[in-house]
Homo-oligomer: 512 residues x 2
C-alpha cells in the first residue's frame, strides 16, 4: 500500500466527503447521560462471576479443530486435555483485563461517522444475517444483493443508525464463496458509516481486511480499527475453528471483534437467568482471552445474545422478561470487566411488523438502552427470530432509535428547562401554547415521529385508515427514491473494484 | 346500616366467594423486587421540589366555585385572594406529610383481591373514560353498558389485572344522570376485584359510597378503604368545584382519591420535562392538602398523567421520550413525599392495535414499571389517546402485564437458579434440553404468552398468516364465552338493586 493511500482516511477525501454531504442528516453515536440500571447487587454480580470462573476451571471450554488456541492457552498456563481447555481461576479475566482496551474507536470512511465503543456510548446497527427479506408489496422472499444494497442505503440515510452493520441480509443470488466481496463493497460504496466484516471463513475475514486496506491504506488500518466483526460461540462451551479463525484474522490486523455466545436458554444453557449469565460470561471470557493471546491489545467486545424459548415447541421467543434480565446483568458484568458490551436490538418472533413485533422489540430495546449497551446489533429491521429482514420493520424501528436519542439526553435542568419565568408570567387557567417560552422551545420540545399517526380518528380514516406498517411502506420507498450515494475517490473505487474482480476470478464459478 | 351488613365484608360471604372461585386464576398485585430507576440526582429532585414550592407560593392555585377549599386553606394559613390561594413555603407538603398515609389497603369484595397502595407494590387497572369502543368485527362505535360489562368481565377473568378500574368505557346508551349506578353495579356484580367510584358530580360520589355501604356494610366502609377514585386537576393551576366536591365526598367517607394533574405538555404546562414535573407536583400537592384538610388521614395518591404534543397539530402524542422522563421524575418525587404514586399505562395515539400502538404502549409501560408506579390506570385497552377502548388491545396489553409479573421477581440467585450442578453434569457441546435441571424447571422457566406467535413461518402461514390483533380477537371472545360471574350474597344483590331502582326513580327521565 502506498503512502498516498495511507493518508486518505484522515485527509482530503474525507474532508471533501463531509463537505459534500452536509445534506445528509448526521447524528453522532448516542451518549447516555443517565447511570446504567442495575438489576443485581455487587454481591449478586460477584456470585455470577464466581460461577463463570468455576465453569472455566472445572468444566472448561472446548476449542474444536483449533490447535492454535490449544497451544496459546497451554502456553498461558491452562490445562489442555484433547480439545478441552480448563482455566486456572481468574486466568481468562486477567488476560482480558491486562491488555483489552476499555474503549476504542472504529474509524468510518467519513470521519464524521467514527464511533467510540465503550463507556456511555451506544451505537445502533441494522439487523444481521437473515436469509429472507419482507416488504408489504412482495411479502417474504429470499434476499438479493439488491435488497442488501437497499438496507445499506436505508441505514446510510437514517440519522439514527450510526453503523452500516454487516450481513444486513444474505444476498442469496450471489454465490456463497463470492458473496462477501459484494457485501463489503456495498458497505464501502453505498455508505460512509462504519461497517462489519465477513466471518464465515478465515480467508473471507482476510479478504475484508485487504479491501479495507485498499480504501483506508494499509498503514492506517494497522494503526486504526476500521473493521468490527461478529464472532459467535457454539454454545454450550464450544468455540469452533471457522469462527476462531476469522477472529484471529481480524485480531492479527488489529481489527475489532465481538465474542458473542448466541444462546437459546433452556437448550444451549440451563433455563435460568443466573445460569445463562454465568455461561455467557465464561464463553465470552474464553473467546476474548484467545483474542488477547493472538494479539495483546486487539479491541474486543463482550457480546451476549440470549433468547428464551417456547417450552412447548422449542422455538425461540423474544421480548419476554427473562432475556431482559439477562441483558441487564450481562451489561453490568461487562462494566465490571472493563470491556465494551454488545447486546439487544429490536428482536421479535413475529413474521410481520404488527403489535407483537413492536411489543417484543420494545421489550428488548428498553433494557438495551437502560442497561447501557455499547453496540446494538439488530437495532432495526429484525423479524421472525432473525430469519427475515423487514423493510417496514426497519422504518418503525429506526423511528424508535430516534426517540432514544432524545431520551438519552435526560432531564434538562437549565434555566430554560426549569421555565420558572413561564410560570410567573402566566395566569392559572391560561394555556401555555402562545407563551414566549413555548414559542421559543416549539421546534425542539418533543420528539417528532415521521411514522406515528397522531391525527384525529376522522382524519386518519379519511386518509385510508392505514396501520403503522402501511405508513412505513411509503417512507422506505421515498428514502430509497431520494437516496444519493456518498462520494468516493474515483481512483480508490476503481482500485477496489479491480481488486475484487481479480479475487473473484481466482475462484471456481460454482458456489460452495 | 345494620350490624349484619357491617360484618359481611370479612365474613362468611367473602370466605364462600373465595372457596367457590378457586377456578379463577388469581395473582396478587405485583411486588417489585428491584430498586426503582432514578433519572435525576437528589439535587435535581430538590430543584424541582423547590420550583413547585415557588409556584405554590408566588403564583398559587385557583379553586373555582369551591368556597370550602378557600375557607379550609385560609384557616390553614394560606393567603386567599378571590379564588386564588397562595401557600406559604412548605405548607402543602407539611399538610400532606403530617397525615396522609404512606401505604393503604383497598379492600375488595373478595378479600383475596385486596390491593395495597404504596411501597414496592404495583396495581394494574384497565383504561378509563373512553366514549368509544373498538373491536375487529364492529370497528369503532360508541360504548354501551354491554361493552362496559364486557370489559369488567375481561378484567375479572385476567390474572394480570388486579383492579376492575372505573369508567372502563362510557356506557353512552344509559342516561348521563343514571349511568354511574349501572357502572358501579357492574363492578360490584360482575367482578370481585377492587374498583373505582364515580367522580363526575359530588352527589354521584356520594351514591357510590352509599352503594359500597350496602355491599360492605356502613361500619366496614367507615373503617376501611373500599373505593378509590380519580380526581383530575384543571391544569394549569386550577382545581374545579365538581372534581373537588367528589374528592370531598370520598374523603369524608374515608375513601381514597388520586389527585391527578392531566397535562398535555406544551399546552397545559410549559413544554419542558422539568417544568411539567414542577407544575404536576404543585397541583397535586395542593389537591392532596385539600383532602387532608377535609379529613386528616384520608388516603390520597399523587397522580401524574403527562403527554407530549404534536407541535404541528396540537394533538397529544404518546410513547415519546419526554413523558417517560416526566414519569421517572414524578415517581421519585412521590417517594420523597411519602405517598403512593399513580401514572403510566399502555398509552397510544394509534386508532388500532398495530405496531404504533404496541411501541407507544411499551414506551410508557417500561418507565411505569421501572420507575415504581403503585397504581397503573390505563394498563390495558387504551387506544386513540383515550377516546377508544379496544377489545384486541386489551388482550395484547394484558399479556404484557403478565410478563411484568415475571420480570418483577428479578433474578433468581437460589441454588436452583444458579444451576451449577447442571454445568458440572453436562459436557461442552451437549444441549440442556433433556437435562434433569431443565426438565425440573420446564414449566416455569419462561413466561408463556397466549397471544404471541412463535411458530415457524410456514406454520404461521398455514394458520392464516394472522397478525397479533387477529389472534387477540379470538382470545377475548373465548374469555367472554367462558366467563362466570363471581358469587354474591343474593340478599345483598337484591338490596343493592332495590336501592338503585329507588334512586333512579327519583330522577327525571331525560339525561342532562
Amino acid at each position: 500500500m502506498s503512502e498516498t493511500r495511507s493518508r486518505r482516511a484522515g485527509g482530503r477525501a474525507a474532508r471533501q466527503a463531509a463537505r459534500m454531504h452536509a445534506h445528509v442528516e448526521r447524528v453522532p453515536f448516542l451518549t447516555r447521560t443517565m447511570a446504567p440500571v442495575e438489576m443485581l447487587s455487587e454481591e449478586g454480580l460477584a456470585t455470577i462471576e464466581a460461577n463463570a470462573d468455576r465453569i472455566l476451571q472445572e468444566v472448561g471450554i472446548e476449542f474444536h479443530d483449533a490447535p492454535d488456541a490449544l497451544e496459546l492457552f497451554a502456553g498461558a498456563g491452562a490445562d489442555v486435555e484433547g480439545e478441552r481447555v480448563r482455566f486456572p481461576s481468574g486466568l481468562c479475566r486477567s488476560l482480558v483485563q491486562a491488555t483489552a482496551p476499555e474503549q476504542f474507536t472504529q474509524v468510518a470512511r467519513n470521519r464524521a461517522n467514527d464511533v467510540v465503543f465503550g463507556g456511555q456510548g451506544t451505537i445502533f446497527a441494522p439487523a444481521y444475517g437473515s436469509p429472507f427479506v419482507r416488504d408489504l408489496d412482495g411479502g417474504r422472499r429470499y434476499g438479493t444483493i439488491e435488497d442488501f444494497r437497499n438496507f445499506v442505503k436505508l441505514a446510510y440515510a437514517s440519522p439514527w443508525l450510526h453503523h452500516s452493520g454487516g450481513t444486513v441480509c444474505e444476498p442469496v443470488d450471489v454465490p456463497v464463496n463470492k458473496r462477501h466481496f459484494d457485501m463489503v463493497y456495498a458497505h464501502l460504496r453505498y455508505s460512509d458509516k462504519p461497517f462489519m466484516g465477513s466471518v464465515t471463513r478465515p480467508e473471507r475475514a482476510r479478504d475484508t481486511v485487504d479491501m479495507a486496506r485498499v480504501v483506508f491504506g494499509a498503514d492506517f488500518v494497522e494503526q486504526n480499527t476500521v473493521l468490527f466483526s461478529l464472532i459467535n460461540a457454539n454454545s454450550p462451551l464450544v468455540w469452533d475453528a471457522s469462527m476462531l479463525g476469522a477472529a484471529r484474522a481480524y485480531a492479527e490486523a488489529n481489527q475489532a471483534v465481538m465474542m458473542t455466545p448466541f444462546i437459546l436458554a433452556g437448550a444451549m444453557s440451563p433455563s435460568t437467568v443466573a445460569a445463562t449469565c454465568a455461561q455467557t460470561l465464561a464463553e465470552s471470557l474464553a473467546g476474548m482471552a484467545y483474542v488477547q493471546l493472538v494479539r495483546a491489545g486487539a479491541p474486543v467486545v463482550l457480546g451476549s445474545f440470549a433468547s428464551s424459548m417456547s417450552m412447548q415447541s422449542g422455538a425461540p421467543t423474544f421480548g419476554t422478561p427473562e432475556p431482559a434480565l439477562v441483558l441487564y446483568v450481562m451489561a453490568a458484568l461487562a462494566r465490571r470487566l472493563g470491556v465494551p458490551f454488545r447486546s439487544g436490538g429490536a428482536l421479535t418472533a413475529s413474521k410481520i411488523a404488527d403489535a407483537q413485533a413492536a411489543y417484543e422489540s420494545a421489550n428488548t430495546m428498553q433494557p438495551t438502552m437502560l442497561a447501557g449497551v455499547n453496540f446494538v446489533l439488530h437495532a432495526a429491521g429484525w423479524l421472525e427470530g432473525g430469519l427475515s429482514m423487514g423493510y417496514e420493520k426497519f422504518v418503525l424501528d429506526a423511528d424508535q432509535l430516534g426517540m432514544w436519542h432524545s431520551f438519552a439526553r435526560g432531564v434538562d435542568l437549565s434555566e430554560n428547562g426549569q421555565a420558572m419565568d413561564a410560570f410567573t408570567t402566566n395566569e392559572p387557567g391560561t394555556h401555555f401554547l402562545g407563551h414566549p417560552h413555548t414559542l421559543a422551545n416549539f421546534e425542539q420540545a418533543f420528539y417528532r415521529s415521521p411514522v406515528a399517526d397522531n391525527s384525529s380518528f376522522e382524519q386518519w380514516e379519511s386518509e385510508g385508515a392505514k396501520d403503522a406498517a402501511a405508513r412505513a411502506n411509503a417512507l422506505w420507498k421515498r428514502t430509497l427514491a431520494e437516496y444519493e450515494a456518498p462520494p468516493i475517490d474515483d481512483a480508490v473505487d476503481e482500485e477496489l473494484r479491480e481488486w475484487i474482480d481479480r479475487r473473484k476470478a481466482s475462484f471456481p464459478d460454482a458456489s460452495e
